[in-house]
Point group: C2
Chain length 401, copies 2
């Protein structure tokens, strides 16, 4: 294929050359001093990105593993957990909880909005015996493009005075949307490498509050690989209790430097802008967003309903063959009915213009009912975004430094 | 530091440039067609390396995770497992089994030999109720440089007619020493990426026999991330049930091509030769090997006892500072008493000559009692190895292709 692939699934995201080069460095001794220095530097950087003073544990494993880690470190067989089924990933997390021997109770949604803080509070108020041990929320539901208000959920939990822990999946929001582990009173934040952190998949994270750590002391689910204890014992030295994923950590160190150079606020603002421009395009095309709640619109991805009678998967395959671009597929109840546009990670205005141009041309070529003008509408948003002139060049200079 | 680092720990091993370049390719959509093709190609290559027609499951995780996968997929709470404590890693595996709620029974050794097939048979014969569910053996004990005879252990188990499963850790023997999952009747082989497979850490493997698969149907240990079931359901398509470690899989595909180009027999022969040359050096220095059993000498690494009154860790630090080389440290009961020379993975005669030269110079400079002449003794072995002239050049041409 000519030119660069457009990897516009909502993660893994496009990995910057600078990070790919970092990953391609020769592997080093994970018990040696240079590794320890790197490990300590990375932990500090991760604390900044998670918005926490607490420990951030790093696993060689994907995000699914960090979900498991959150559960097995804090809970015991038969414990009740309250989850909100905001979409496919929340649903997978609840299935995992059941497989691990927990009682997962699901608050259902229409998969077109975020988690409802009031519904969470009602479920906790109804639990007079305080037997619900944790509330699990997916911050940014990657299958629907709906983002939940974690701060409001925290407030609602506090008002019930229920002692349940709060676990938040920040897999597709971390380093894309504002996220504050400490300020929002999250007990375990679950993250991974291949989204806003701009890395390939293979690393995942648990940020752990003091309350979660206390709960881990009496947790009885079996655990070894995911156990926080040994991880925390070695963390101060920058080392790991078993062999870490050294080369991905080279990449993570570089990603954290890049995020620091840009500043998290700029990164969040850029994601919000690209989400807004994408929605302007979808609206001009006359297509429906999956997310129907204005306040819950994701900054990381936009999920679009395919017009009735048209296959979203056939459309995605057409785009892949014709324009060398991958879009995200519909998941769960949206299988073949939705396509998802990822606009997170290492991304800029012109990559977005290319992405939306591919979709608009494909809509016409594949005979999907729509109005043209989506790209133009997006460019209007980008042009008038009030971004300082020269910001792009400045970022590029840093990127290639 | 000038020049290349000598990474002579017994894994992670020196990663060839060809694999580092493969890993640095842009990440692709793990649900797309090119990924599926890669996944299917990798599975075939892994079956060849494990010597099996059975499925080889690939985890985003390190070897420790694949240990856990072997246990949680086949066993139930309170099950008895028989392990042979050949060294530090066998001991860690048994601790993991206990943390997971299993009854791990350890046959002890002096940490200077392999597992005794007769002792395994005796323990199984004594188990009249057949309550031992699995025998766990570390094929090549990375902490001692002793290799166990898996074929003999299989035969001994068969003679007892005990139904226990056989789990083998081939972490530091795979693609270094001959290994035959099917021919040896292994039920679960546990492997990982950063040793003979020449990759960075971050991938691990379970090769699974039909008997192990049958056992998994009634296993009751909780599992989700490590569960074979979903892995096997998606394996035929080359895809994964959750996000795989895409870029390390790029490297694995390349590593499998390299191993096929060279041929496993040549790879095994080279490892045996380098082990023999290393022992010639150690013997000439007048130092003791940890491994005292002629038939159990490892092809992957050589563990050397530090003379009394000298710190092995101080010696390793001296070598690191002066010669830019990492050696393996003493583990468990050998802490500070042993250093380990890794000669596995992507390695050749001159890298070994450099490695041994560093050790010989450091022995002199650090005032460690020894005789000189170790390097010379190793060169005698390498010179007269009967390797065809031109083999090195031929391999190099393939390496840089």
């Amino acid at each position: 294929m000519d030119g660069s692939h457009f990897l516009q699934i909502p993660g893994p995201t496009n990995v910057p050359h600078r990070i790919l080069r970092a990953i391609a460095q020769p592997t080093i001794d994970h018990r040696g001093r240079p590794f320890g220095e790197m490990g300590r530097e990375i932990r500090l950087g991760l604390q900044h990105v998670f918005g926490t003073q607490s420990d951030v544990i790093i696993y060689p494993g994907s995000g699914t593993g960090a979900w498991e880690a959150a559960l097995v470190n804090t809970l015991s067989p038969g414990d009740r957990v309250l989850m909100v089924e905001t979409g496919h990933f929340a649903s997978l997390w609840s299935e995992m909880a059941r497989r691990l021997g927990l009682k997962a109770e699901l608050i259902s949604t229409d998969w077109r909005s975020g988690a409802d803080a009031k519904a969470v509070a009602e479920a906790l108020n109804a639990d007079r015996s305080k037997s619900i041990k944790a509330v699990c929320i997916v911050h940014n539901e990657t299958s629907t493009g709906c983002r939940s208000d974690i701060s409001a959920i925290r407030k609602a939990i506090d008002e019930t005075q229920h002692p349940a822990l709060l676990f938040v999946d920040t897999i597709s929001s971390l380093a894309s949307s504002p996220y504050f582990h400490d300020a929002w009173g999250v007990d375990v934040s679950v993250g991974c490498s291949q989204k806003g952190l701009m890395l390939p998949p293979g690393l995942s994270f648990n940020a752990v509050s003091a309350k979660a750590l206390a709960a881990s002391k009496s947790s009885r689910l079996p655990k070894s690989y995911w156990s926080w204890q040994a991880m925390l014992e070695t963390a101060g030295s920058g080392h790991f209790p078993y062999t870490p994923s050294t080369n991905l950590l080279f990449g993570l160190r570089e990603a954290l430097v890049m995020l620091r150079e840009r500043g998290l606020q700029q990164v969040w603002d850029r994601h919000a802008l690209h989400a807004r421009a994408t929605r302007a395009a979808v609206s001009a095309w006359g297509l429906d967003l999956v997310c129907q709640d204005e306040k819950a619109l994701s900054h990381s991805l936009t999920a679009v309903m395919m017009p009735q009678g048209h296959s979203a998967d056939a459309f995605r395959t057409f785009i892949e063959d014709r324009f060398n671009m991958s879009l995200g597929n519909g998941l769960g109840r949206y299988k073949d009915r939705v396509f998802r546009i990822g606009h997170l990670g290492d991304f800029n205005d012109l990559m977005l213009a290319g992405t939306l141009s591919g979709i608009e041309m494909a809509l016409a070529l594949a005979g999907v009912p729509h109005k043209s003008g989506g790209v133009q509408a997006a460019l209007e948003v980008l042009k008038t975004s009030g971004r300082e002139t020269g910001a792009g060049a400045k970022e590029n200079a840093l990127l290639d430094a």
